[in-house]
Subunit: 299 residues, 2 copies
Amino acid sequence: MSILVVGSTALDSIKTPTAENPRLLGGSASHAGVAASFFAPVNLVGVVGQDFPKKYLELYRRHQIDLQGLQILPGKTFHWAGEYEANMNNRRTLATELGVFETFNPTLPEAYRKTPYVLLANIAPALQSHVLDQMMKPKFVVADTMDLWLNIALPDLLKLIKRVDGFVLNDSEAQQLTKTDNLLAALKKIHQLGPKYVIIKQGSHGSILSSPKGLFLCPAYPLAKVVDPTGAGDSFVGGLMGYLAQAKGSIDANIRQAMVHGSVTASFCCEGFGLTATTKIKRADILKRVKELEKIVRF
Amino acid sequence: MSILVVGSTALDSIKTPTAENPRLLGGSASHAGVAASFFAPVNLVGVVGQDFPKKYLELYRRHQIDLQGLQILPGKTFHWAGEYEANMNNRRTLATELGVFETFNPTLPEAYRKTPYVLLANIAPALQSHVLDQMMKPKFVVADTMDLWLNIALPDLLKLIKRVDGFVLNDSEAQQLTKTDNLLAALKKIHQLGPKYVIIKQGSHGSILSSPKGLFLCPAYPLAKVVDPTGAGDSFVGGLMGYLAQAKGSIDANIRQAMVHGSVTASFCCEGFGLTATTKIKRADILKRVKELEKIVRF
């Protein structure tokens, strides 16, 4: 089965203490879409400007990502510039140029409306809701978000959360949303906002799921070197949804394996700038690391 | 088989945003000793003053902790006072009164010298070495430490690390010792200092072992409420050594289960001030949580 992925499609300029990489392909939909593509066909919904490099359209196509839903409009592609500190945990936004993203109105191609798996990757919650409005009986809908929307669009976000099956956010966002720094308390409060599945991401510490079948602690694959964590969270949720879309059986039966596959996909993402490492791997590389991870956590 | 535990035996005054608890039983040897006692007989090595409450001697005895190695000297028991912030992660020392600890010279009773498992819980590394000097062919020696010794007794600590089978420290201490914030790189550097088994503790995120059989990610049991994390690290390593001492087979065959049992013992420690929660449980309570944790991490 296929997945619809809506989110940002951007050019990212990423600075770390050791390197600078201008205008790499980035954005939540790019990272999540490529990650999902290792497992299932992806229908991409996004917008880019006429400056968007052709090589990145080729990159999407190489990953069998359907581009009917990618609008190419007069103007500039969304550009984000950021800088990481030495420990790769703290990042600082240097510039945000919205470009064509400012007036983005995601209208779905007819062929997309029956996509069974819907990933509302990080983007303004009003746009996530607008996409969801156009879907016809999706099987499983997951939304991701970021602190920005908690700060400037909380009412929109709360409306969206009510309508999704799964909601994904990171630990500091969960703390901000629920006013508690206890993970179990935060998970409980987020369930009360609507979703049956709540996942709190904890960066290199993995993630935790609360679901009808209880809790699941999902490990992160330990890396000897983190080059650039940008997009790791998007890769995680993309891989997760991709895995679910191709798996037989219920969501409950598959969601743990789906998270582990998403987690491993995210580990590759961290090993290169932008999508450079993720686009070099094959599905077999992910499966190999999943097997390794199984050995590392077994007791 | 039995375990020798040397470390601090103290009275802790612990303040949190919601409560204040003066002069509770504390110290690394108390926490580690009680934790180990759920699994194996413990020989305690420490020092207290004549002000040390009789009820705490009774508490040790209830846990079948042998007190031949506990010196009771004229003077005051070591007293530590500290305050936790709301998130329970940052703590501030308010007072440290060494008392009889200042001139502590751990001389082992003859009966202790052949104890097969030796836990050098957190205490000055010169004292840890001095205890190790008195042991006769121990089977497995593990040392824990704290940032204080990295700051004021690094040469002593490095001498000690060379002589132990296992070394345990937390993530910020590992970063300080190895000058890297990458866990895998830190583990590698610490192996080069001597120990075959290196464990980095990550608080509520669990811990990671590097051993001849590879890496192991040990989960932490998720808690709905953390009352007081003081002693959790000591309980972890105490439970770990206790489990190893009673397990049949090699260290490699048992160390993962040992870490999980230590991790769960530490979870109880966090649920009460000082040792109040840990001393209310039985071994069966630990085993029950281990089973739950197995379910929470299975995929």
